[in-house]
């Protein structure tokens, strides 16, 4: 009773607030960290997309005569190789560019699979209820209780490394997060008056789902994805570091860190530090933007 009384004025305030799009633009301009993050993410996406065009060298080209050259801010550099070369004479900058390509490819595509799977199964579970619901949610519980690294390690070790396999695996594991949320909002929406009215008016189940239920889950999906994307990117780099992610012939940030790690004690610290730093900057940017998204779209969660 008291709770409703407290909530009512808030709702009124929301009614007179600017529409969501204007609100989010305003909020973005007032948060410089979110703006910078957005810039970093866009830059990373551009680099990943156009890596073959903008990378100064072929990342797989070995040149043992020019191996282990230093980056531009140190001595013993090689002109044209801004971040120097690694132990096989590959251009580190180009290698990092191509590494982003793999990170973001694995991240984005596995999240698309997880989203599609999670939304469909979540709607199925929530709408159907009963045994389907119980079975799907038990499966989700079980999958969530297993650490992702462990599962990925086992599966990749047995089926061998591969970009496609990695994407499929992560998608098949991470649907649970989406599935649970979507199921929850389906359950909450299903019994609402306007859905009942649509049903009474003769709307088919898929019409109800597309028109009345899906719009409500878009925001949580966006917020979850902003948390999942950096996690998946870190997982990819971890597995590639262990040699169990993407194949060794594919340039990846984890692979670059592993390669550089072998030269750490010989003093070539940048070979392992720079690729990790590059990944960390992008992941921080995504996390900051995710925080900001949550603040804008879900003010209840603020701090």
């Amino acid at each position: 009773m008291t709770k409703e009384a407290i909530q009512a004025p808030q709702q009124k305030a929301a009614d007179i607030a600017p529409p969501p799009r204007a609100r989010s633009t305003l909020a973005l301009l007032s948060r410089p960290d979110a703006l910078v993050s957005l810039g970093v993410i866009l830059a990373a996406i551009l680099i990943a997309t156009f890596a073959p065009l903008i990378a100064p060298h072929n990342p797989n080209q070995h040149n043992l005569n020019e191996a282990l050259k230093a980056p531009f801010f140190m001595k013993d550099t090689l002109p044209g190789y801004w971040l120097g070369t690694d132990g096989l004479g590959r251009d580190l900058l180009s290698y990092i560019f191509y590494g982003f390509r793999i990170s973001l490819t694995v991240g984005i595509f596995s999240i698309i699979i997880a989203t599609v799977l999670g939304v469909s199964l979540g709607i199925w579970a929530g709408y159907q209820g009963g045994r389907v619901d119980t079975a799907l949610m038990r499966l989700a519980d079980f999958q969530l209780s297993l650490p992702l690294v462990l599962v990925a390690l086992a599966v990749i070790a047995i089926f061998g490394p591969g970009v496609g396999k990695l994407i499929l695996l992560i998608g098949l594991v991470r649907w649970t997060v989406y599935g649970r949320t979507v199921r929850g909002s389906v359950l909450a929406t299903k019994e609402l008056d306007f859905v009942e009215a649509a049903r009474a008016a003769g709307a088919r189940p898929w019409e109800i789902i597309v028109r009345h239920i899906l719009p409500g889950v878009l925001t949580p999906i966006l917020i979850i994805s902003a948390v999942e994307l950096p996690r998946v990117m870190l997982l990819e780099s971890t597995l590639s570091f262990l040699g169990l992610g993407v194949p060794p012939t594919v340039p990846s940030l984890g692979g670059a860190i592993a390669h550089g790690y072998g030269f750490l004690l010989s003093g070539y610290w940048w070979l392992t530090v720079l690729p990790g730093l590059a990944l960390m900057i992008v992941v921080i940017a995504i996390n900051l933007l995710g925080d900001w998204l949550r603040d804008v779209f879900d003010p209840r969660m603020q701090n």
């Binding site: 690294v149 047995i158 971890t238 262990l242 921080i284 701090n303």
Partner: protein, 305 residues
């Protein structure tokens, strides 16, 4: 209580069987260990003899039943590569891994509680912002890379600490610290938001209204109620710490289960992989059970359900 324990016990056996079956089935896709062992040399007869000796000539179902029968006697076969019982190989490595994991979780809990409390009680203040943005960076860095940077800074540049292998306390600091960092970042956020939640409750307001000292309100009323869910979540994090330890062990050449399993996976050493999977799931089940039981002690509502 006894009924609850019984139920958990039988559930655990079911999980065990499921794990063993899944691992056994997956290993069939992994490749042929006989081929790997023989290499280029060795005649066809040698190969057949080896296959028979390892019991790999029998049908899968028979292999699995045999495996289960032996497993019940604590015998999971001989490691193909090390020539010693696989189970003892894994068990030997448990102390090293647990030393790493337990130290890491202790470090992160002990540091996270005061930091989270300070952040919550001085919400929006300088320390709060430092902890929050620091924890964001903590969860944004690849955990294995943090370990490498630790090695670079404390081992190579400063030369303060040993960077590989297991020994005394000095050897433990870098690996446990880098493993703890991610958890610390997570835990600070948990304690902070838990404290903020509790501090907004009516009984805290009434405790303040009674004129109790702020420190009594914060530590006795608020922190106590924050810690119950926090300890549970921390306990459940043990599972992901065990997984994270695999990578940390690789970076710091720490002789635990993680390094053993990475090697064994690459060499298709089936008995070791199976033993590891069973031991790891046993540890998992044990931790979950302990968390459940401790929860039912602290929170009476769980018992009645």
């Amino acid at each position: 209580m006894r009924k609850f324990l019984f139920k958990r016990f039988f559930q655990s056996i079911g999980v065990f069987l499921a794990v063993s079956l899944v691992v056994f089935a997956m290993l069939q896709f992994a490749g042929d260990p006989v081929e790997l062992l023989m290499g280029e040399e060795g005649s066809q007869e040698d190969e057949i003899r080896l296959r028979e000796a390892l019991g790999l000539d029998k049908p899968y179902v028979v292999q699995y039943v045999l495996f289960l029968k032996n497993a019940l006697r604590g015998d999971l076969g001989i490691s193909y590569h090390h020539g010693v019982p696989a189970m003892s190989l894994v068990i030997e490595r448990i102390p090293a891994t647990m030393e790493l994991v337990l130290t890491a979780i202790l470090i992160s809990i002990i540091l996270a509680i005061p930091m989270g409390v300070v952040a919550a009680t001085h919400r929006g203040g300088l320390l709060d912002r430092i902890f929050l943005s620091g924890s964001l960076r903590g969860i944004s860095a690849p955990p294995f890379w943090i370990g490498i940077v630790f090695i670079l800074v404390f081992g190579v540049v400063l030369g303060w600490l040993p960077t590989s292998g297991r020994g005394g306390l000095a050897h433990l600091i870098l690996p446990a610290g880098s493993l703890a960092l991610y958890r610390l970042a997570l835990f600070i956020r948990l304690v902070r938001s838990g404290m903020l939640d509790v501090l907004g409750q009516e009984y805290v307001t009434s405790a303040r209204a009674k004129g109790l000292a702020e420190s009594v309100v914060v530590f006795k009323h608020a922190l106590k109620n924050t810690l119950i869910p926090f300890i549970t979540i921390a306990g459940l994090q043990m599972g992901s710490l065990l997984a994270g330890a695999i990578v940390t062990e690789r970076v710091f050449a720490w002789p635990g289960m993680g390094r053993l399993i990475l090697d064994s996976i690459q060499k298709l050493d089936y008995p070791v992989v199976m033993s590891w999977a069973l031991v790891t799931s046993a540890i998992f089940i044990l931790i979950n059970m302990l968390v459940d039981i401790s929860y039912s002690f602290v929170d009476p509502r769980v018992r009645t359900n």
